[in-house]
Symmetry: C2
Amino acid sequence: MTIAQVSKKYDITQDTLRYYERIGLIPAVCRNKSGIRNYSDEDCRWVEFIKCMRSAGLAIEVLIEYVALFKQGDSTIDVRKELLIEQRKQLINKLEDMKETLSRLDRKIESYEHCVVKKEKLLIG
Amino acid sequence: MTIAQVSKKYDITQDTLRYYERIGLIPAVCRNKSGIRNYSDEDCRWVEFIKCMRSAGLAIEVLIEYVALFKQGDSTIDVRKELLIEQRKQLINKLEDMKETLSRLDRKIESYEHCVVKKEKLLIG
DNA sequence: GCTTGACTTGGAGCTGGCTCTAAGTGTTAA
DNA sequence: TTAACACTTAGAGCCAGCTCCAAGTCAAGC
């Protein structure tokens, strides 16, 4: 796949794809003889995985570390697993916080309902 | 309450508190004759509300709008409610995305479990 | 051969959201 | 009364994470 196709498929700009590769957020993509990127299926899976993790708020720094460990091979399997577990923990905490905020927002909206009712009562009665 | 107390209570730097006030993220706080901020209970509730919403990822821009509408009085009640409902919608979507990412992370960690088991089998057998 | 156009690079620029600084004012304690 | 300190302001600086740009390379079509 060309960079243009990957960009379209995953809705990530070409600039961002090149940027991610430059900083090591995805492993180096193979090129043809004239230096043009040709994304393999595995490259695509990386792009998709990183996009997903980024959108959930995992830091670029952490993901770069994960990719670097991956490149070092099987000896880093345990470390990678620990890294993922730590990220999961943080994600769960964030989810909890957001759920609380959501219910607070619900209550706030609820109180606006009462407001409107009062206003209507005033208008009617 | 002084800015120092509010800063401590809500774990927000004094700089950030002043910044929030400057850009209209919280309504103007009353000052004594020499210009020093004195946070009322209502000011504190604003600080806490804004902190909570910010931590869930609501944009500063949107919250500034909410505060501006609030300052305009009761005529903006309906608009404010709509604004909150829209933000709730977005928050729910974000939560859903994050939940999916979380279960993906779970599966990934799961697959690392298998990895370790294989490695152990190799070591043992 | 020449133009067009899709790609390449390194580096500069931008946005959001703080965070720090310099210069100044006011209160308090010795 | 003078030193120390907590506060004030406007504006510069910083960081993450892109996004844009200039200059260059290459392949395809006229």
